[in-house]
């Protein structure tokens, strides 16, 4: 019953997503693209969180991907479409290298180091004037697909599909057991033969390369990159708030949170031009204090108690 319901909802969401370009204008499509991108980032953040590691460095890998894509086109003469997978590979490789160093760290030390790394990436890009364009950034010749709103939407949706696919793989394969075991109790996971470091590295590299991919898509859709625009702290903050609100350790939670917060933020942006992000801060506080399992957890608890009442 419950499974049928969730399948029906997923099919409905898919139908809406596919049908949207047919009847929506350029502005709603642009809003949808934004929400889709943040949704994909939220899912990737959650994928790493399933191992118990909190990353504050989404913006860093996203921004690296964005710059890899722009510079791939400008400096290496890549076609725009090729620069997007290149961005994914580049962020993935960087993640592989730093993963060897930082995945031995736990808890707040891991989080702080990811935050510091994001800052380091930004400062490096900021200062390599000749190669990256420095603080003024770089402008592409044109936007991918000539800026066609429909095609850009499909591109964003493709990015989301990659994130959701990877998340589904994480949930329905050995990865799920490995990451859950690491999160619950590292010592017992280790003694059951889970190679902790290897699985963390897999999770970190996969999520980072998807973040890089999304950075590539983002930058190709807007046609320019500056250190401040692509390493913006919002790329860390918004996905985090979305995943927390929806409910962590699942694919559905971040997706749900992204839809709710994305629409709310778009509406608030029109009402309060300055500082509408305050909502994100407040939501993070409320969720942590009153419903650490997010909306999904609340819903689960509610259905569970309803079931109990029916049985009694």
């Amino acid at each position: 019953m419950n499974r049928n319901l969730s399948r029906a909802l997923a099919a409905l969401a898919l139908a809406v997503a596919v049908a949207l370009p047919a009847f929506a204008g350029a502005y709603p499509l642009q809003v949808a693209r934004n929400i889709i991108m943040y949704m994909a980032l939220a899912v990737t953040w959650d994928m790493l969180l399933r191992s118990g590691q909190i990353s504050f460095g989404i913006a860093g890998l996203f921004g690296l991907g964005a710059y890899a894509s722009v510079l791939g086109v400008l400096r290496a003469g890549m076609p725009a479409w090729l620069s997007i997978p290149f961005a994914a590979v580049f962020s993935g490789l960087v993640a592989l290298l730093i993963g060897f160093l930082i995945l031995r760290l736990r808890a707040m030390y891991f989080s702080i180091v990811t935050l510091a790394l994001a800052e380091i990436f930004r400062i490096v890009i900021h200062n390599l004037h000749d190669f990256t364009g420095g603080p003024e950034g770089v402008v592409l010749q044109g936007v991918i697909f000539g800026g066609d709103a429909g095609k850009l939407y499909w591109l964003a949706l493709a990015g989301l599909a990659v994130a959701l696919g990877a998340s589904w793989w994480f949930e329905n394969s050995r990865v799920h057991y490995a990451l859950t075991a690491i999160r619950n109790n590292e010592t017992s996971a280790k003694s059951s033969g889970v190679n902790i470091f290897r699985w963390l590295l897999v999770a970190f590299v996969v999520t980072s390369s998807i973040q890089g991919l999304l950075g590539g898509i983002y930058v190709q859709s807007y046609g320019f990159a500056t250190p401040e625009s692509v390493f913006d702290a919002n790329f860390t903050l918004l996905p985090l708030a979305m995943a927390l609100l929806g409910g962590v350790h699942s694919t559905v939670g971040p997706v749900l949170g992204a839809v709710l917060l994305g629409l709310a933020a778009e509406w608030l942006k029109l009402k309060i031009p300055y500082g509408h992000l305050v909502v994100y801060g407040v939501i993070i506080i409320i969720v942590i204090l009153f419903m650490p399992q997010g909306l999904l957890g609340q819903a689960r608890a509610a259905t569970r108690s309803a079931d109990k009442r029916r049985k009694a």
Binding site: R104, V113, A116, I120, L240, Y274, H276, V282, I288, L289
Partner: protein, 307 residues
């Protein structure tokens, strides 16, 4: 013992660097020391919270920013000097901190460490964005005559006002040391920091102590917010970078080692000032902190595994 040794090493390194720079470019040394004072005075309250309440307050810099805004509007309204406003600001920020602690952080103390990290992260965003809504992102500044006071020694000419930060940093470090070792409340706080359960068993109100320590730390940050306003322009994002820098300094000094923060600040202030002295390297000065924090954390993690 290890703490003492680390403090000595940090201070010795800082002094050695200072002497070298003194002969090369004295202004680099002076501005480095002034900058170090500013960093240390802001980092010490964070070290206090981390050492006793054991939470990383990612809203630390934002609290200072809020205090600076409060001072700004109080001074604008009454024509008061920010320097005079430092004490009332400290009291108000301390009270504000106590309320924030009671309403939010206290409830997350028993939750996993990461929840606290995300909670204070959210607090920081809420504070900076609330200021953004209320006062927009326009920069604000109070111009004061005495800030531009300078001293000439031979061919050397430099601003002296920023030495006030150095004085405050030293005052904070040794004031806290006296407070924690000589007063009953301070001793209780130290006991709670070392072993909350043990402290509770001997009859210390742990919850209240946490609240008081947090409020005290925020009062110190609040006074710094007022002093910060004398020197710098403020905007909603002005506090953010200080959070990371403060954490970096506390981590370098070692959690619970407040005088060590002075040494760590000196080292970092001088390194930054040194890089800024070269035109080509100026943009790289910001990276020093972040590289250092990663090196320190990774270095510690290797040491942990050995032991």
């Amino acid at each position: 013992m290890a703490m003492k040794r680390r403090t000595t090493i940090l201070v010795a390194l800082g002094l050695a660097a200072a002497v070298l720079i003194l002969f090369w470019k004295p202004t680099v040394l002076i501005y480095g020391i002034q900058q170090a004072g500013l960093y240390a005075a802001i980092a010490i309250p964070m070290g206090l919270v981390l050492g006793i309440v054991h939470i990383v307050n990612l809203a630390h810099g934002e609290f200072m920013m809020v205090a600076a805004y409060a001072t700004y509007f109080a001074c604008r309204a009454t024509g008061m000097d920010p320097l005079v406003a430092a004490l009332p600001t400290a009291a108000v920020t301390g009270l504000f901190g106590w309320i924030v602690f009671r309403l939010t952080i206290r409830k997350a103390l028993k939750a996993p460490e990461l929840n606290q990290l995300i909670l204070t992260f959210g607090l920081g965003i809420a504070l900076s964005q609330a200021v953004n809504i209320l006062f927009t992102s326009q920069t604000r500044k109070i111009s004061l005559d005495y800030v531009s006071a300078s001293v000439d020694i031979g061919e050397l000419s430099f601003g002296v006002w920023s030495f006030v930060f150095v004085a405050v940093a030293i005052l904070y470090a040794y004031g806290l040391k006296l407070f924690l070792t000589k007063t009953t409340a301070g001793k209780a706080a130290l006991a709670v920091g070392q072993n909350p359960r043990g402290a509770a068993i001997v009859g210390i109100d742990v919850d209240r102590t946490y609240g008081l320590v947090f409020a005290l730390a925020l009062a110190l940050v609040g006074a710094m917010g007022a002093l910060f306003l004398t020197k710098s322009a403020i905007f909603p994002g002005v506090g953010g970078p200080f959070t990371m820098k403060s954490f970096c300094l506390v981590a370098v000094a070692g959690i619970g080692n407040i005088p060590g923060i002075l040494g760590a600040s000196l080292l970092l202030g001088l390194a930054e000032s040194f890089l800024r002295a070269f035109r080509d390297l100026r943009g790289w000065a910001d990276i020093v902190f972040f590289v250092l924090i990663i090196v320190v954390i990774l270095g510690r993690s290797i040491k942990w595994r050995k032991s």
